[in-house]
Symmetry: C2
Subunit: 628 residues, 2 copies
């Protein structure tokens, strides 16, 4: 048993670039956290995409005794970009060579991992192997389990030089302190330059260079038992590595085929991988035992907020939810957005959970501009969503949709928190604050961009109202124009939104005026008004105290009014609500008296906060409320 004492801080480094690798690395991290008993420090070499994703993920994950540092891969590019490379990992694979330079100069040891690794044991066991290094040894590696470096795979197959079968660099113990001392930085470069004269390019990225280096300096390598990197390419010798499940320590999905690789025990490995893929990451937030935690400022703050709560308060559950920190995985799928040159771009902002997934394709067909969506899901559901999106022709071909996962926790649907995640991750100057069960009229995107200019949104405080309608029918032939909409309204095929159940929500839009309007017109705020609006991105956030059903949009519009936004109704814009079964949350709360009581308490507190922030002008909201 080589396990390290549980106080030891273990350092792990990973090169991670782009959306897909950022998703993959989470499964690796989960497998490490699941088994770990030690504090951990992750060092991520990232491009800007992975940095944005992983930094917000770890910040919201709040795993005790886990530190995370980021290093800019772009700054390291010049160190390796001179090396011609054919491997699918591209330039990022090569960056493992630069870690002595990239990582802090006082860091003495680090475990380096590829993102396609899964741990089946406590990483402290691997860390403990550093203690078995002889004085000379600087790199710990597992033998390569394919025949590649034997050079007999095909006629004239000429791999880079290697000791025997060579070594695999998916798992590396790097003794940084010693590497620096022996001049590693110059050494690997000299090796690479010399070999490239005859080899012209690397086939397996950093691995070729590590192997050529080791062939010249065999005393520097510490060979690890092969179960520390069981390589699941087709035709590997990995089976000789283990006879028992308990022998398996680390699985390496190093075939481009990944989970579809052929291997005798692939079912077992797949199960191990799927276990972590779908594992509820919240369960990994547990404290280490017997390990005094250096709490992060965020967790100190959270702890203080928790202690302020009164467990006997009848709204305890609501207040508890209000301060719950949900894990957030931004840009879960590939995302590309090029800003328009004219500063008029508008992002459609919405939130949803699994039961509204089927709206996404339709929305994409009705709105060609950028979209920011926050999805409230469990880890397993996020994987289901991923499969759904990858199978959909419509979604696959749209790159300007940012999908942000907010992981489920607790019994309430934190709708305003989810909305804020979508709102805060917008890359355009304007936002269209919509709901996912609405379809915008065709051409709304262009019309809004024109309106933004026409109404000088850049220099005035305005909220442009997009009038909302609804249909109670599934098979609606969507109106192509305002004229067509008006005639459908007259026929009773369409209604103004929530006409039957809650007219007040949209009454101030003044549908009668809208029928004949040809220019934007200003309307006054009234209580319970909750229109869908276009505003500048710097608008106030949604108030997160409102969870579940009720007052989530109303409070936001109220705050816009308190900040003296002009509410301008757009004469040629409309959106239509599509029918669906009521959501769980609504049916759960509509009937609950304690929910209604708490909602009313929260409303009062919101009003008090408004008065505090906006002074006596905000009293009108209270009066408006009381008059109901």
């Amino acid at each position: 048993n080589t396990a390290s004492p549980s106080q030891d801080l273990i350092h792990v480094a990973c090169v991670c670039a782009g959306h897909n690798a950022s998703r993959d690395v989470v499964t690796l991290v989960k497998s490490i956290l699941f088994h770990r008993r030690n504090p951990l420090h992750f060092h991520f070499i990232t491009d800007t995409v992975a940095n944005r994703i992983l930094s917000s993920l770890f910040q919201s994950w709040m795993v005790p005794s886990v530190h995370v540092s980021f290093y800019d891969a772009d700054e390291l590019k010049s160190e390796v970009s001179w090396i011609p490379n054919k491997h699918y990992s591209g330039i990022y694979g090569l960056m493992k060579l630069t870690l002595t330079k990239a990582l802090p100069s006082d860091l003495s040891k680090v475990i380096v991992l590829d993102t396609d690794i899964t741990f089946a044991t406590d990483i402290a066991e691997l860390w403990g192997i550093f203690r078995k290094f002889t004085d000379k040894q600087v790199i710990g590696l597992v033998e390569n389990q394919s025949d590649w470096y034997l050079g007999n795979l095909w006629k004239n197959h000429k791999p880079w030089p290697a000791l025997g079968r060579g070594f695999n660099t998916g798992v590396i113990l790097l003794y940084l302190e010693r590497l620096r001392r022996i001049g590693w930085e110059q050494m690997w470069r000299l090796t690479a330059e010399r070999e490239l004269m005859s080899m012209l390019s690397t086939s397996l990225a950093d691995q070729d260079i590590f192997n050529a280096f080791i062939k010249q300096n065999p005393v520097l390598v510490h060979q690890l038992p092969c179960f520390w990197n069981v390589q699941l390419s087709d035709h590997t010798r990995s089976e000789q590595c283990y006879t028992e499940v308990s022998d398996l320590k680390v699985i390496h999905w190093n075939s481009p085929k990944k989970l579809r690789v052929k291997n005798k025990h692939v079912e077992f490995f797949r199960n191990l991988y799927l276990t972590f893929l779908e594992y509820d990451g919240n369960l990994l937030r547990r404290e280490l035992f017997g390990c005094p935690t250096q709490a992060s400022p965020e967790s100190v703050q959270l702890q203080a907020a928790l202690e302020e709560l009164d467990e006997d308060d009848q709204c305890y559950d609501f207040r508890r939810e209000r301060i719950t920190v949900h894990r957030v995985h931004l840009y879960f799928l590939q995302y590309e957005y090029t800003p328009t040159g004219d500063d008029t771009d508008v992002t459609l902002v919405a939130q949803l959970s699994m039961d509204r997934l089927q709206m996404l394709e339709a929305i994409c067909k009705h709105w060609e501009g950028p979209i920011s969506l926050a999805l409230y899901m469990s880890d397993a559901e996020a994987q289901q969503f991923l499969r759904y999106a990858q199978a959909s022709e419509v979604l696959k071909n749209r790159k300007n949709v940012g999908y942000h996962i907010v992981y489920k926790e607790g019994q309430f649907y934190p709708v305003n928190l989810v909305r804020n995640v979508a709102l805060k991750n917008v890359n355009t100057p304007y936002v269209f604050l919509a709901d996912v069960d609405f379809l915008p009229m065709y051409g709304l995107y262009d019309y809004l961009r024109k309106s933004v200019v026409q109404l000088d949104m850049a220099h005035t405080k305005k909220a442009l109202v997009v009038p909302a309608f609804e249909t109670l029918r599934y098979r609606l032939s969507f109106p192509k124009s305002k004229a067509e909409l008006l005639s459908m309204l007259d026929m009773g095929t369409l209604y103004t939104f929530r006409y039957h159940v809650w007219t007040k929500g949209h009454a101030p839009t003044n549908y009668a005026k809208w029928r004949t309007a040809t220019t934007p017109y200003k309307v006054e705020w009234e209580s319970d008004f909750e229109p869908y609006v276009v505003v500048r991105r710097d608008c106030p956030e949604y108030d997160q105290r409102f969870v579940g059903f009720g007052w989530n949009k109303v409070s936001h519009i109220m705050e816009l009014d308190a900040q003296e936004y002009d509410l301008m109704v757009l004469p040629n814009a409309f959106m239509i609500h599509m029918p669906h079964a009521p959501s769980f949350d609504i049916s759960k709360f509509r009937s609950s008296p304690s929910y209604r009581n708490c909602l009313s308490t929260l409303k009062d507190e919101f009003h008090q906060d408004l008065s505090r922030k906006y002074g006596s002008a905000a009293l009108k909201y209270l009066t408006a409320q009381r008059n109901i």
Copy 2:
């Protein structure tokens, strides 16, 4: 390290009675399977409810190297029913005393577990402790971690006699062979009889008797380290048991508060428990390594069927799904049904997944008779469903609904397999084969029971057709009578079912005739007819080759016709389809040409099978099909 060699067969016994314990024990079993490397033999002492549930669960689970035996708890009742007992576990708790008699006489050792146990390590480690027993020792136990047996909890608190703090019987190593030899059966009885003279009843069931016995025979006990049974009651001394996560081996949720117990590390324990609660049980089907499996007949059959499949067949995925064995957990919730005396009872049969859960309350309000529902869900979704059902006043108060979970696996929705699970687990002579998105007219249940008699269903082969209608509107005021329905039909508030998109499915019902009909009338089968019918329970099953969307009910009605069922339309029955968003499966397949091709191949094969079974008469289906 006391772990046993991985060839050792480990025996585990559990007393399990009723619906709730049957659900709880699955989490225990999952936690054992997750860590295990040895073949296992589970011995379940069950009542008829738990027997039915667990035997079908394990049969469909098909975990390699896991054997299961059942023993009838009712037969053991007389052994312990003479002991007055106040503990919440009731008479079943006491049955642990009878294991030497209940289990096979050649079984020498067994680990006995309560259902509220979670394993955090390989059970082989615990099994290995038998080897540490001295020659005299016959029972391995962990010390009790509460102060109960110290007898100072309150004034005049007088517990049963025990050695010191006494022992907890949630985890027991029973050396059966030796117990039989020393005459355990007589010994515990004598102890119990003697103590009961002064104590009058047991407070903690079997645990009191075990402790009194041990107090008299201390040399017989082997004390286990306390981490083998970390007891999470409030105010237990369990914290002294571990300083490290890795010290924890077995968690015992032995407080009536269960997960809400107060304990310093309860978050950690809860996470461990939730991990297994929601863990995908399919992932536990993996083979053991290096352990030649004695395959069950079912798995041999499955293996043979798999080998017959051609991976290059374009319909491979469909055929693969056809032979997939889905795990089934029957009667997931409390279920009570008393047969009616008159043999006329009818069960509503339907299937659903998460996205139709909100229909359940409405259906329960429209149908007061028994219901058999199969739910296609993941393990995590089944827990969500459980919480939903427990929170619903309507569902909580209905005991005559059998909820059967069919666990998800693979990419298709195996709709006919799920339907068959609901159909096969019916306890009435007749079934109403419905769909979950329909609401029956009020009073349909009584009307069907009368019709069953009137049409002599017991002695004739008939399928009674319940005419189907649909609304495209959410807020429907449900018609109270046929007259009201007809006028809504005339008003365009209702339509005949799928009138706009697929008239053929119900055209043979002859809605025109139905308007004025006052007596049942016979109709002829036509191609693509898919009415909702009432038949005897012994009707043919649904053909499971049809998965996903298409031909799943059509093929069933065709087979009823091939078996010469008379199709009789009921003049005063109706049901109405409620609107909902299209399901994922439909949208996935409607657009896929390869799906359509395979469906057509499967149809052809179904026709061939019909001809084979029913001879030349079945040729008409082929002709009808070709004419389209």
